[in-house]
């Protein structure tokens, strides 16, 4: 709890929460949404491919997805930390927020084996293993859960 109080008292956190500027919390929230679109959108495109949509495309062509995912993750990590810090004592003790964090970590975790699978695939490889398909389904579901939890935070945590 002491850590959360300290986090909330940081000058940057105070600025985010108190500034009336649209460049403070509103812009950070918006960047968080854009990061989500890039991160989840790119993940889902790869998941669709693993599940057999546009199966003519060799898996190796999807390497760009991980660069897009990295951009989305970095943007959302930075904006997420800022949004967390400015209301740390609220978020840090709210069960719905902790559920969202678990789902985000689970979704990001599915990306690691998917990434190594795609990077290991041959230049012309088009067939997908059962494990990879399972991971793709897990990825779609956990990201959906993370977005759902994130959106409902606005209504469940005051």
């Amino acid at each position: 709890m002491g850590f959360l109080v300290w986090l909330e008292s940081l000058p940057l956190a105070v600025w985010v929460v108190e500034s009336p500027s649209v460049w403070a919390q509103p812009t950070i929230l918006t960047l968080h949404t854009m990061g989500m679109a890039v991160l989840v959108g790119a993940s889902w495109v790869l998941d669709l491919r693993l599940l057999g949509i546009s199966r003519n495309v060799p898996l190796s062509a999807f390497r760009w997805v991980f660069r897009a995912v990295a951009v989305g993750l970095i943007v959302n990590l930075i904006t997420g930390v800022l949004l967390f810090a400015c209301r740390a004592t609220t978020w840090g003790t709210a069960i719905p927020f902790l559920i969202k964090m678990c789902l985000v970590i689970a979704s990001a975790a599915t990306l690691l084996p998917i990434r190594s699978y795609v990077l290991r695939s041959g230049p012309e490889q088009r067939e997908v293993s059962g494990n990879a398909r399972f991971l793709a389904i897990a990825s779609i579901l956990t990201w959906s859960g993370a977005i759902t939890a994130g959106r409902l935070l606005a209504y469940t945590v005051q």
């Binding site: 959108g41 889902w44 495109v45 062509a61 994130g150």
Partner: protein
Amino acid sequence: MPSITSLNLAHLHLILNHVPTVGSVVALGLLLVAFVRRDEPLKYAGLEALFAIAVLTLLVYMTGIGAHQLLRNQPELSENAINVHHDAALAGFVVTEFAGFVAWIALWQSRRRGRAARGLVPAAALLSVLALALMGRAATLGGDIRHPEIRTDVAAGDAAAADDSERFVTRRISAYMVNSTWAWPAAETVHFLGLSLSFGVLLAVNLRILGVMRQVPFADVHRLLPWGMLGFGANLITGMLFFIGQPKQYIDSAPFYWKVVFLMIAGANFLYLTVFKKGAAVDRWDSNMADKAMAVSSLLAWLIVLYAGRMLPFIGHAF
């Protein structure tokens, strides 16, 4: 002479309201001539017109609600006649969007397999005929608001039913969205899932044009577009639920204007990507500068739609 800056939403509604009716007649005419002459390119033009009408009808519907807000508190106008018109317009809107959607599938299939599934183009045409009928009815009822001389008996029972808002589908949707605990949060969740799906698909398709995944023929990423359409469809439905639910939040909002303007640009772009003919089965096809500019503008338009949408509660004072 009125200047362009004095144009308000009621003006815009009066200008744009011809698109669904006159536009459908033109699109149906194109499809009919294409059928008689067995002219394929003309058929595609007709289908493209149906898609464009569906996109523009969004503006017609929204400016209509804007006009309604402007006409509030004018005692000589019947609120009842406006609600009757609004309900009729919603029915027309739904069928118009559906016609545009079916036309889009036909275009996508034609681009992919050389021809649309049997029955799809007639289905689009039939839906367009139905949309024309419903929009014609909405137009007549809209005319009734300001023109007592043409008023039909539909709006005649005005005074008696003045406060009976439960009769109107649009009023019921609005009440449900505002009063239900879960409707708004659930629709917002779907809206965010839909935007992620749409954006991911458009990212992939546009990145291909920009030169990423160069070894892949364009037709193979084109295969993803219906998933983008699925996300967009979910967002159109949930977005309209928000808009019908709380129109006042959006009608006076500057970021909402920008969101809708860039949605129109993004819609044009989506059509462009659907019928895009280059690099179909060509490995290592390289796009030219114009294609790249189009791809960049597509991604930028969607980012602006996202930005304006998320900033709705923070810019201006409508919320």
